[in-house]
């Protein structure tokens, strides 16, 4: 049901460079660490060396006496209010009060004249700890008698979800074949290049300003208010350019943000904090490591009848957004395949490890890895083609899933077919030499979701007399291209050039409140708001134009190429800027358009899980070809081809960048990345030891392909849906299936590192030396 590109757009659908690319290639774009305020001090954080301990005493006197130190603070300098996302999961403190729960937990902070002095001062702070027994394994932590992290969480239960839709017992009973597997995933870091950074200022009037690298500045704004016990009206968060987000700490208020403003209050000067990479890679916010047990019942022909999924996730020391983290895998098991009976149980367990949260795709890639690996296992057992089993079970537009997802546009079959075609699947599968293999993985994602609290996006379109437009939203560009895509939407509606639109960074005193940048929501939600706002401005201008051009209003007036003309008689025309001046100078009408969008869906109770989470869902398929070196165990990705239904690609160049970037992150998780911890201590907190993909790990350009499947979603702006996360959901499974195809060995535990591969190859040779 692929619909071809609709509409004859001037701007939409055409590749356009990112608007801020010019100031980024010249080094002019200012990131948080690039700001220097007059009189600014530098802050550093003291972190716990213990995974679990009581703090019996902190002596800051020696640090305070060090020349150049201006102030030292501890947990006692804050009101002791716990903050966080959902009411039941507020367990963050700006600085620890009586207890530390992981190695890296923030204990004290210093402001000094420079970073070196601040660091020196940290060494002079004396903290007396009483070490407590600690627990680092989620299953151990669930057992009676295990060390307890939080008083409110018996058995270290951080979040629990259980639901059943349909009747899995019946589904299993009717199945011809049951497959059961246990998969394991590892902790993975966001890995953005820009460390967290902020500058806090608390002025004489009590006004608090925070300049920070944040992807959801309004979340930070609210959390600061919560943790400081101060009304939001006294807090202003100003977003800088963001050097990569991928969720995590840039999504929330971090200890550094709180400490910057409170130290500023003490010193009367702005205070800057910048993490070093060791801190970034040690502290919380990472992808949840999980044990994933999945049981699936199928008919002989491969039709899925029932799935039962159980997850135990190591949540680390704090909640972050844990309840959502646990809802998602079970919910997303309903996509992209039709599973009539679904049962789900998930436990997020507190341990004395760094805490987990969202990271590109959140907890969805893990479950896609398990589910799509298992699908290949089932296909092989039943003698089915892995493509056929996917196509047979793929959801179609118009279906409602057992958990209540209403599927609108959904080009799943097209994704599978396009990924096959692009990769040369038919020519390759089964015909590649030994140690070379090809595999497919599929996935799905939401186009934003109503998560909690404020979920609407709002836009203002302020039209200026020179014919340019200031676009004001509460959305943040973290590199994904929101600045450009949102501007394209406004430009298209108003018939002006993309360069005529100015996109502003968030400033909570000026821009409209917005939930933030997560769940791939910005293009869809803010995009819809921008479209409505631009249409509002256009309507105001069309009225004036109609009068001047003596035409029927609105429908007869066309806005295009910076001109405004009568459709039936294009000679009757005005320049766009002339029209604006006519409105503003002659008629005293300032043209400002307003628009807001929310999906209108009810909030989902994450613990019970029924309801339509998102206004639109995107399916994707990915094919990976690998070469395995039997001598070294090294897996090389020889090619990667994906297809993704993004509704309509508003800017194909940026969609490509999003999809390929997400794909490579998936490859990183599949093959290289693993935050290694021994008794809670991170053993590889550097880019040398935490292995992210490099240029030489990537396949040649000729072996990389991406196809947009176009379905023109009626509820998305100009037909668009999500594009930044969904395409990667199936990548890990595609790698797993390709490695199996190459070696005959099935890996259920991530990453597929050379040691595991070598060991498994030896094992399989021992068992079947004749292979």
């Amino acid at each position: 049901m692929t619909v071809q590109a609709c509409g004859d757009y001037a701007i939409i659908g055409k590749p356009a460079p990112k608007k801020d690319a010019w100031i980024k290639v010249t080094g002019e774009a200012k990131y948080a660490d690039d700001l220097f305020l007059a009189g600014m001090l530098h802050g550093k954080l003291l972190r716990s060396p213990h995974p679990h301990a009581k703090i019996s005493h902190i002596d800051t006197s020696r640090a305070e006496k060090l020349a150049g130190v201006r102030a030292v603070i501890t947990g006692k300098d804050f009101p002791g209010i716990k903050y966080g996302n959902m009411p039941q999961t507020r367990d963050y403190l700006p600085l620890a009060l009586d207890k530390v729960r992981y190695i890296g937990d923030e204990v004290a902070a210093v402001a000094a004249i420079d970073e070196e002095v601040a660091e020196e001062a940290l060494d002079l702070i004396r903290v007396e700890y009483e070490p407590l027994p600690a627990v680092f394994d989620a299953e151990e932590a669930m057992k009676p008698g295990a060390p307890q992290l939080h008083d409110h969480a018996a058995n270290n239960m951080s979040a629990e979800t259980a639901f059943q839709f349909g009747d899995v017992a019946k589904g299993f009973a009717e199945s011809d074949y049951l497959q059961e597997d246990l998969f394991e995933t590892q902790p993975v870091k966001q890995g953005m290049l820009e460390p967290h950074a902020c500058i806090g200022q608390w002025d004489e009037t009590g006004k608090i300003t925070l300049w920070a690298s944040k992807q959801s500045p309004y979340v930070v704004w609210k959390q600061l208010s919560m943790g400081l016990g101060i009304e939001t009206s006294r807090i202003r968060v100003i977003q800088t350019y963001v050097g990569g987000g991928f969720s995590g700490g840039k999504q929330e208020a971090m200890p550094m943000d709180f400490c910057a403003v409170v130290l500023s209050k003490k010193c009367g000067r702005p205070v800057k904090f910048v993490h070093n990479m060791d801190e970034v890679l040690t502290i919380g916010h990472m992808r949840h490591p999980m044990k994933i047990w999945l049981r699936t019942g199928v008919k002989k022909d491969g039709t899925l009848l029932a799935q039962h999924l159980k997850i135990v996730a190591d949540g680390g020391a704090y909640s972050s957004i844990g309840q959502l983290s646990m809802y998602l895998p079970g919910a997303m098991l309903n996509l992209p395949y039709r599973v009539p009976n679904v049962k789900y149980e998930a436990y997020r367990i507190f341990t004395n490890n760094g805490f987990c949260g969202a990271l590109r795709g959140h907890t969805i890639p893990q479950v896609c890895f398990a589910r799509d690996s298992q699908l290949d296992l089932i296909a092989e057992k039943l003698g089915l083609d892995p493509i056929d089993i996917r196509l047979k079970n793929g959801l179609r537009p118009g279906e409602t899933t057992p958990n209540g997802f209403r599927i609108g546009t959904f080009g799943f079959a097209e994704c599978v077919e396009k990924a096959m075609e692009a990769s040369g699947w038919k020519e390759k599968r089964g015909k590649l030499p030994r140690y070379r293999g090809i595999g497919m993985g599929c996935g799905s994602l939401v186009s934003g979701a109503r998560v909690m609290g404020h979920s609407a996006s709002t836009a203002q379109v302020n039209v200026h007399e020179d014919g340019t437009v200031a676009l004001v939203t509460g959305s943040t560009d973290v590199g994904q291209g929101a600045d450009t895509v949102l501007s394209m939407i406004a430009a298209e509606v108003l018939g002006v050039g993309l360069e005529d639109i100015r996109f502003s960074l968030v400033d909570t005193d000026i821009t409209p409140a917005d939930p933030g940048t997560f769940s791939s929501r910005v293009t869809f939600w803010t995009g819809n708001a921008v479209k409505i706002a631009a249409e509002d401005a256009r309507r105001q201008l069309a009225e004036i134009a109609a009068e001047k051009l003596k035409a029927q209003i609105d429908d007869d007036i066309v806005f295009r190429d910076r001109q405004v003309y009568v459709k039936s008689d294009p000679q009757r025309r005005l320049r766009f800027d002339e029209l604006v001046r006519l409105a503003q100078h002659r008629q005293g009408k300032v043209i400002m358009g307003k628009g807001a969008y929310t999906s209108g869906e009810a909030l989902i109770d994450f613990r019970t899980g029924y309801g339509n989470m998102s206004p639109a869902y995107t399916p994707s398929a990915c094919v990976v070809e690998v070469e395995v070196d039997p001598q070294t165990g090294q897996v090389t990705v020889a090619g990667v081809w994906g297809a993704h239904d993004c509704g309509f690609p508003l800017n194909p160049m940026l969609v490509k960048g999003q999809v390929l970037g997400a794909t490579v992150m998936g490859i990183g998780q599949a093959l290289y990345e693993n935050l290694l911890r021994v008794d809670g201590k991170v053993m590889n907190p550097s880019f040398r030891d935490y292995k992210m993909p490099l240029t030489e790990d990537m396949p040649r350009l000729a072996n990389v392909g991406h196809v947009n499947v176009i379905t023109n979603d009626p509820s998305g702006p100009f037909g668009a849906k999500e594009a930044g996360e969904g395409a990667a959901a199936g990548v890990i499974a595609a790698v797993a299936n390709a490695v199996y195809n190459a070696t005959g060995v099935r890996f259920r535990s991530l990453p597929f590192s050379p040691d595991k591969i070598l060991f498994a190859l030896k094992e399989s040779d021992r068992k079947a030396p004749a292979r």
């Binding site: 990112k18 690319a21 980024k24 290639v25 010249t26 220097f36 966001q190 953005m192 490509k656 240029t695």
Partner: protein, 164 residues
């Protein structure tokens, strides 16, 4: 009191006389003393390439290089690249036009690394571009559009070179 050493640096064609502790890195001095913040501070351990500048045309990690060692050499930072060309350098232009810039934090370093590389090897193969950029992390793009950009810049420069 910190012991200060006099240092003369030549950056983007401008001469600077500074008095700095001898242990300060070129990265710190460029950013903090000369306000050239286009050079990015990321890992500070020579593992990401974000801090890359050119020293007599050669790409170096400025986080691993003491400012005093850069005396007597021509330092080029990202701010100087655009200025020396009057408009955007072909490499910068190619990065913009191929979508090689997302968050942009890796960009200044990669652009300069590409310049040093293309000055040495004006007609590189894809493989050579890949090898030349292996010391740079980019978490956003997955590298493909960056490699395309460097190849496009090489073509553009080759075209221009014919006229010079």
């Amino acid at each position: 009191m910190k012991h200060l050493s006099p240092v003369s640096l030549k950056v983007n064609g401008d001469a600077y006389e500074l008095s700095i502790p001898a242990w300060r890195t070129l990265l710190e001095v460029l950013r903090e003393d000369l306000s050239l913040t286009g050079t990015k501070r990321s890992c500070q351990e020579g593992q990401c390439g974000a801090c890359t500048v050119l020293l007599d045309g050669r790409a170096i990690y400025s986080c691993l290089f003491l400012a005093v060692e850069a005396q007597g050499k021509e330092i080029l930072t990202i701010e100087g690249l655009a200025r020396s060309a009057g408009a955007l350098d072909p490499i910068q232009k190619a990065f913009v036009e191929t979508g090689a810039v997302q968050c942009g934090f890796c960009t200044p370093g990669l652009v300069l690394a590409a310049k040093s590389f293309l000055d040495e090897n004006p007609f590189p193969s894809e493989e050579e571009v890949r090898r030349a950029t292996v010391g740079h992390l980019c978490r956003c793009t997955g590298y493909f559009q960056i490699i395309e950009a460097v190849l496009a810049a090489a073509r553009e420069r080759a075209g221009k070179g014919a006229q010079l």
